[in-house]
Amino acid sequence: MATTLPHTETTQPSTLDLGARFPGVVSADTRPSFKGWIVPKENLIEVATVIRDEFGYDLLSNVTGVDYFPENKMEVVYHAYKTTGGPGLEFKVQVPREDPVEVPSLINLWPGVDFQEREAWDLLGIKFTGHPDLRRILMWEGYEGHPLRKDWKEPFHEEDFKPFKSRWPDGQFYYAEEKNPYQDNLKFPQDFDPEQWIPEGDALLYGSLARYTLPQEDGLGTDRIVLNMGPQHPSTHGVFRAALTVEGETIVGLKPVIGYLHRNHEKIGERNTYIQNMPFTDRLDYFNSMANNFGYALAVEKLMNIPVAERADYIRVIMAELTRVQNHLVFIGNLLNDLGAMYTPALYAFEERELVLDIFEAVSGARMMCNYFRFGGVVRDVPDDVMQKIKDLVYERLPAKTEEMDRFLTENEILVSRLKGVHVIDSETAVRYSMTGPVLRATGVPYDIRRADPYSIYDRFEFDVVTRTNGDLYDNYLIRLDEIWQSLRILQQAIKQIPQGPINSQKPQYQVRVPAGEAYGRVESPKGELGFYVISNGKPNPWRYHVRAPSFVNITPLEQICLGKKIADFVALFGVIDVVMGELDR
C-alpha cells in the first residue's frame, strides 16, 4: 500500500482569493511580510465553512493566539491545509484586547481545535464562545492570570528580553530566589491568605467527564467508576493523566489531563533571542531533537529569507531520517512494553537507538539534546569517519535489525491478537481532528508533509508515502516498520548524493538579524506535523513563538478513540498515538 503523489500537485501556487469571495468582509493582511486574510469575528464561522467545504482545506492544522499588547489587540491565527497537498491558507481574527476577549469557536467545523482553543484560553485568555468545555488545559483551575499575555510577569521575571544586564559586566552571582519576595518561584495576589484558600481541585474536570460519557445502555448495568490513570503510571509514557469513567471494563468516558510537564516553552521562547531558542527546541520532543531543530530552523530561515548550504541540507535530511528510524524502533519496543512484553523488545530497540545516538554525539556533541542546526546550515561538518559509521548503520545494521524485528514480531500471535481489529480511528474523523503523522496515514490518508508541501530537499528523493487502510492498532504498528524502510531509502540516496562544500550559508554569529514578519515552518516529525509559528518585530527576540506540537494535537480525539473499548486496550491505543510529554505540554 504505497502512494506517491506527483510533484506538480504539490508545487502549484495558491490562487485562492478569499477577498474576492467575500468582498468587503475579508481583507488581506497588509502588514509587510505578513500573509493571510483577516476575517471579522462575526463572519468567522461563515468564512471558515467556505474555506473547508468550498475550497477544500480540510485540515485545520494550527490555531494560536497572539497578544499585540502595544496595539491593544489580540489575534487568533489559523493555518488550514489540504490533505491532498499544496500550500496552506492562513486566516486571522483580530479583536480588541479588552476582557472578555471573545472569538467564536470553530469546534463544530473542526473538532480538532478543541485542545488548541483551550490552550489559547488558558495561556492568553481568549474566550472561544461556543466551545462546550473551555477549561484550563496546561495550568490548573484557579491559577492566577494568563501567562502568555505580554503584560503578565512571572515570579522570577528579571527583564523582558535576554541577555539580562545583570550577567555582565557586573555579574555578581545570586540565586533568583533571593530577589523574589516569596523567596521562591511564587507569586500571589495582593493580601492573599493561603489558609483561607479553598482549592478548586478537579471539580470541573469531573463535571465535564460526567457530561460527556456514553449513555447508559439497556440491560445489565454495573456501577460506573471514575478511574484516574496517571500522572505517575508506568505506561503513560511520562506524566500524562487520563480521567476515565469505566463500566465494568468498558471505557465510557475519558478526559485527558495534561500540563504536568508544562515548562513554559513559549513564554521563555519569547524572551530568548532567536539562536537561544535552538537548544530549547531540543527539549520539546526529546526523542527527536534533530527534527525539532529542523522545524525551528526552517521557520526562522523563512523569516530571514536566507538559503541553506547545499551540503547542510543533505546533512539535515540524514539526521532527520536517522531520528525517524530510531524513534520508530523505540516506538515499537515501547508498544510491546505496553502490551505486556515486558522490556525485552524495548531492550533490543534501545540498542539500535544507542548506535544512532553515538552518531549524534559524534557530530553534535550530545546524545539527546543535539542543538545541531543553525540558521543557514548546521553547526559543524560530519567527519569522514562518522559518515562511514552512518553508512555502516544505514546499509548493514539497521536494515538487518529492522528485518529481525519484523520477523520476530509481525507474525507473533500474541501481538496479532492484541492489535488486529482494535480500531483506532477512521480517516474522516482523523482529518477533522487535525491528526497528522503515522496515525493519520494508517487510516489511509497519504498526507506526509515531505511530499504534500516539500521542505528542504525532500523533493529530490524517491520515497513512498506509505499508507495502510484499516486504521487499527496493527496497521499503526506496521506503518512504523514501513516508514523505517522508507527512511532508510531516503538515507541511502542522501548518503550517495551528498556533495562537498560549506555547511552554512551564513557567518556564525551569536545574534542574528531577523526582519519583521511572520513565518510558519513545519516539518514531518516522526510523530506528525511539527510547526513553529514565529512572529518577529525586527528586534533580537521573537514577539510570538508558538509550537504546533503533533503530540498535543494528536491526542485531541483520544476520547473518541477510546470510547467503548476495553480498559486494557487503553494503554495500547494511547501508545500508538506516540506522544512525548515534553512536546505535549511544552
Partner: protein, 206 residues
C-alpha cells in the same frame, strides 16, 4: 502453531547468549582483549556487535567523541615561567548568548586608566542551570571557554562553579579535543603571522 512466537522470541535471547561466548573465544584465540580495552569497547559499539552490548561503567567507559560536551570550563595558558595566563578577556559574549543565562562575569576597571581589565575578576557558572548547549564555547572568539568531557560531577549539594573550579590548563584542553585545539592554534598562528606581516609592511612606510 501456538507457542511458536514464544520459542522464536526466546531464540533471540538464546542466540545473543551464545554470540557473546563465541565472540569471547574468538577474541581469546586472536589474543586480543575484549573487555577493558579500547578496541573491545569500539567493537561493542560498532555495527558488528553481536553478543554482549554492555559497557561496564565505571571499569570501562564509552569512547567519548571529541565533540562531546558537558559543562564548560575556562582555559588558561601555562607560560614557560610557570605563571598562568587566562585566555578569557571578559568580553561577555558567552554570558550574552547563554540561553538559560547561567554565566555570570564580573569585569573590573583598572583603577589607574579607568579602562576595563581584559580578564574576568569573577566568573560563575550555575551548573544546575546550565543546559550543556555549547553556545558559549561555539561563539567564544578566544577559545577561552570550552565544553568539558568530564561527566562525573555528581555531588551532595547544589553546585555553582567559580573561577577556581572552572579554570583548567590548555594542556587539558589539548588532551580532550586534540583536533579542535590544533585547528585553533593554527588559526591563532596565522592571525599572529598576518599581524606581524602587516606591522612589517607598515613599518617601512612610517
Amino acid at each position: 502453531m501456538y507457542g511458536k512466537g514464544i520459542l522464536k522470541g526466546l531464540s533471540v535471547t538464546w542466540k545473543r547468549f551464545w554470540d557473546t561466548y563465541i565472540d569471547d573465544i574468538s577474541w581469546l584465540l586472536r589474543g586480543k582483549k575484549r573487555y577493558y580495552s579500547e578496541e573491545g569497547i569500539k567493537h561493542r559499539s560498532s555495527k558488528d556487535q553481536k553478543g554482549i552490548f554492555t559497557i561496564q561503567y565505571p571499569e570501562e567507559r564509552l569512547i567519548t567523541p571529541e565533540e562531546a560536551r558537558y559543562i564548560p570550563f575556562l582555559v588558561y595558558d601555562e607560560k614557560p615561567d610557570g605563571t598562568q595566563e587566562q585566555r578569557c578577556t571578559s568580553c561577555g559574549i558567552c554570558a550574552k548568548v547563554c540561553p538559560p543565562q547561567c554565566i555570570w562575569i564580573v569585569r573590573s576597571n583598572d583603577p589607574n586608566t579607568g579602562r576595563p581589565i581584559p580578564e574576568p575578576t569573577e566568573f560563575y557558572i550555575d551548573v544546575d542551570i546550565c543546559m550543556n548547549c555549547g553556545f558559549c564555547a561555539e561563539y567564544c572568539p578566544f577559545d577561552a571557554i570550552i565544553m568539558d568531557h568530564d561527566f562525573e560531577l555528581a555531588s551532595y549539594g547544589r553546585s555553582v562553579y567559580n573561577m577556581e573550579k572552572l579554570l583548567k590548563p590548555a594542556s587539558y584542553y589539548k588532551s580532550i579535543r586534540p583536533g579542535q585545539y590544533a585547528k585553533n592554534e593554527a588559526e591563532r598562528k596565522a592571525k599572529e603571522a598576518a599581524k606581524a606581516a602587516k606591522a612589517a609592511a607598515a613599518a617601512p612606510k612610517a
